[in-house]
C-alpha cells in the first residue's frame, strides 16, 4: 500500500457496501448443509439416467447460493457480474461444442430411399 502523505486526505467518498445480515448467512449455510445431505441420500435412490441430472441440479443450486450470498454477487453491480456470466457462458461453449463433436462421431448416415433410386439413373445418364 502507498504511504503517500496526501492519500489519507483523499479516500472519499466512503465505501458503502451492502452488509449481509448474519441471519442470511446462517440460512444459506444451513441450506447448503441440508442440500449436501440431500444429494448424498438421492444418489442411493435408483432414478436411472436421472441420478446424474438431479445431482447436477442440486450442485448448481448450491453453487448459486455460494456465488449470490457468500460471494456477494447478488449485491454487486455491473462489470463483475458480466465477468461471471461471461465465464459461465464460455464454459458452456467449451462443454457443448466438445460434446457436439464427441457424441456425434459414431452416427451412421443411412442412405435415403430416393438416393438409392436416383443415383443409378444419374450414373446411367452421365456414363
Amino acid at each position: 500500500m502507498s504511504s503517500h502523505p496526501q492519500s489519507a486526505a483523499h479516500g472519499q467518498p466512503m465505501v458503502h457496501e451492502h452488509i449481509v445480515p448474519v441471519s442470511t448467512y446462517l440460512a444459506v449455510f444451513i441450506t447448503l448443509l441440508i442440500a449436501t445431505g440431500l444429494t448424498t441420500w438421492v444418489a442411493f435412490q435408483d432414478l436411472g439416467n436421472w441420478n446424474v441430472v438431479v445431482a447436477l441440479v442440486i450442485a448448481v443450486c448450491k453453487a448459486s447460493l455460494v456465488v449470490l450470498f457468500f460471494m456477494h454477487a447478488k449485491y454487486n453491480k455491473g462489470l463483475s457480474r458480466i465477468v461471471l456470466v461471461g465465464a459461465v457462458f464460455w464454459l458452456g461453449i467449451m462443454i457443448t461444442f466438445t460434446l457436439a463433436d464427441e457424441l456425434t462421431r459414431h452416427w451412421q448416415i443411412s442412405p435415403q430411399p430416393w438416393a438409392g433410386a436416383i443415383i443409378p439413373v444419374i450414373h446411367r445418364l452421365l456414363f
Binding site: 500500500m1 502507498s2 504511504s3 503517500h4 496526501q6 492519500s7 489519507a8 483523499h10 479516500g11 472519499q12 467518498p13 466512503m14 465505501v15 458503502h16 457496501e17 452488509i19 449481509v20 448474519v22 448467512y25 446462517l26 444459506v28 449455510f29 447448503l32 448443509l33 449436501t36 445431505g37 444429494t39 448424498t40 444418489a43 442411493f44 435408483d46 432414478l47 436411472g48 441420478n51 446424474v52 445431482a55 450442485a59 448450491k62 453453487a63 455460494v66 456465488v67 450470498f69 457468500f70 460471494m71 456477494h72 454487486n76 462489470l79 463483475s80 465477468v83 461471471l84 465465464a87 459461465v88 464460455w90 464454459l91 467449451m94 462443454i95 466438445t98 460434446l99 464427441e102 457424441l103
Partner: protein, 225 residues
C-alpha cells in the same frame, strides 16, 4: 488503526494514490479477482469437460471407479468446506461492521483450521488408503477381477479423481497460505470498516474453491446407478 501500524509508516486507510477514492479501489480489486476466477473456471472447466467426455464413453467403468471412493469422506469434507465458507463470510462481515481485530482473527483461524481438516482427511484417509490398496495410478495400480474388461477405464477414472482432487487440494493449500497472510494483516490492525478489500477478495477465491468441490463431490463420489 493501531498506533504501532502508524509508527511503522503504514497508510492507515490502505488507500493507493492511483485511484480516485477507496470505493473505486475496492471495485477495481474485486473486478480483478472476478477476472482471475473466470480463468480458474475455464481451467477447472477443461478437466470437467474431459471428465464428461470419458464418462459418456465409459459409464460402466466410472460407476465401478466411483465405488472405490468412500462416500462418507466426500460428504464430511463437503460439510467441512461449507463450514469454512461460512466462517470466511463472517470474517469479512466482522471487518465490514468495524469489529475489533480479535473478532476478524477469531473467524479467520477456524477458516484455516477447517481447510486444514479437509486436507488432513483427504491425505490421511483417502489418498493414503488408495496408495496402500493399490488404487493410485502411477503407484502400482492393481486391476481387480470384478472390474473385468473395464479395468483400464477404471484406472482412467482414478486418474481423473487424482488430477481433479489434486488440483483442488493445491488450491486449498494456496488458500490456507493466503489466510495466514490475512491473519497477520488483521493482527497488525490493517483492516477497518472502510478498508477490508484483501479480506473480501481472498474470500472470493476461498468460496470459488468451495464451489469446485461442490461439483467434484457428486461427480466423483456419488455415481451409484
Amino acid at each position: 488503526m493501531s498506533d504501532a501500524a502508524l509508527a511503522h509508516g503504514d497508510n492507515p486507510t490502505g488507500f493507493a494514490h492511483q485511484f480516485e477514492d477507496l470505493e473505486q479501489q475496492h471495485d477495481a480489486g474485486r473486478m480483478g479477482m472476478w477476472i482471475f476466477l473466470a480463468t480458474e473456471i475455464l481451467f477447472f472447466g477443461g478437466m470437467f469437460t474431459a471428465y464428461t467426455v470419458y464418462r459418456s464413453l465409459h459409464p460402466q467403468a466410472f460407476l465401478l471407479g466411483s465405488h472405490i471412493l468412500e462416500v462418507k469422506f466426500g460428504a464430511i469434507n463437503t460439510a467441512v468446506l461449507i463450514c469454512s465458507s461460512f466462517t470466511m463470510a463472517m470474517a469479512i462481515r466482522s471487518a465490514q461492521t468495524g469489529k475489533r481485530k480479535g473478532a476478524i482473527i477469531g473467524w479467520l483461524i477456524p477458516t484455516m483450521l477447517l481447510g486444514a481438516t479437509f486436507l488432513f482427511l483427504k491425505f490421511r484417509f483417502e489418498w493414503y488408503h488408495d496408495y496402500i490398496e493399490h488404487t493410485m495410478p502411477g503407484f502400482g495400480f492393481h486391476y481387480k477381477p470384478e472390474w473385468g474388461a473395464h479395468a483400464p477405464q477404471v484406472q482412467m477414472f482414478m486418474c481423473f479423481y487424482f488430477f481433479m482432487t489434486g488440483l483442488h487440494a493445491l488450491h486449498m493449500i494456496v488458500g490456507i497460505g493466503i489466510l495466514l497472510v490475512l491473519t497477520c494483516m488483521a493482527a497488525r490492525g490493517r483492516f477497518t470498516s472502510q478498508y477490508y478489500a484483501p479480506l473480501e477478495i481472498s474470500g472470493l477465491y476461498w468460496h470459488f474453491v468451495d464451489i469446485v468441490w461442490i461439483f467434484l463431490f457428486p461427480l466423483l463420489y456419488l455415481i451409484r446407478y
